[in-house]
Symmetry: C2
DNA sequence: TTGTCGTACTACGTCTGTCGTACTATGTCT
DNA sequence: AGACATAGTACGACAGACGTAGTACGACAA
């Protein structure tokens, strides 16, 4: 029924991506499936949102890209992978603190 | 130290305004002070954000404006007040549900 | 064999909400 | 006289999400 609106999710997309990459390097399609899985199917990131996030995050040096062969047979097929940087880990830690603050503040305006 | 970034707060500004107006009708400056107070000084809404939210929210019929004399002496000074509408109350209820869902989802990506 | 589905993206343009900057105007306090 | 609180309005820039569309390949079913 209820869904997470884009005005809300935009505050957390980078954090979710970093949270996935913190475990191990990965690539677009796999990351989107992880986000769906971890959220229990309650949040599905849009493709365009995800790939434009990669561009921004690489520019901010929160992630780094590299290519890997998809097929070890060596047919030249490659896939773009991303890994989190130290700066990205630091940013993720700050976002976790920000989340604690946000929870604290927003709860005061919410009726349950 | 940590602050709530605008990418995060944008998901909640309308909700905070409605939460204040749910108690009683009010006007811009007073609402901004209420938000600061209720948040324990941890969130201060920008003037331009607040007033542009009023325009949007009135268009969406979540709030209604009316004018009141500031000075009962009758010197003609007026102030624009806003009150929450039924549609606004309904929207607020939905936002509270969305918050519960958001908390549930985001916590899975956060390390404490 | 033709079409759909899953995988794995890229490109482009639009829209919304926030923000910086600046300006107006009044009253009170120092 | 100047700063500060009150109570706003106007304008343009910018970032991030989104809709739409297109590419390309392999598997699998009708």
């Amino acid at each position: 029924m209820v869904e997470i609106s884009s005005d809300v999710s935009r505050g957390y997309n980078d954090t979710m991506i970093l949270s996935v990459l913190k475990k191990e390097p990965s690539y677009g399609y796999e990351i989107s499936k992880q986000i769906k899985l971890i959220s229990g199917g309650k949040y599905i990131i849009k493709e365009t949102t995800l790939y434009s996030a990669f561009t921004r995050m690489e520019k901010n040096q929160h992630i780094e890209s590299f290519t890997l062969d998809t097929d070890p047979g060596g047919n030249g097929k490659k896939r773009t992978y991303y890994r989190i940087t130290d700066k990205g880990r630091e940013y993720y830690r700050e976002k976790c603190e920000e989340w604690a603050l946000t929870k604290d503040v927003i709860e005061k305006f919410i009726e349950q």
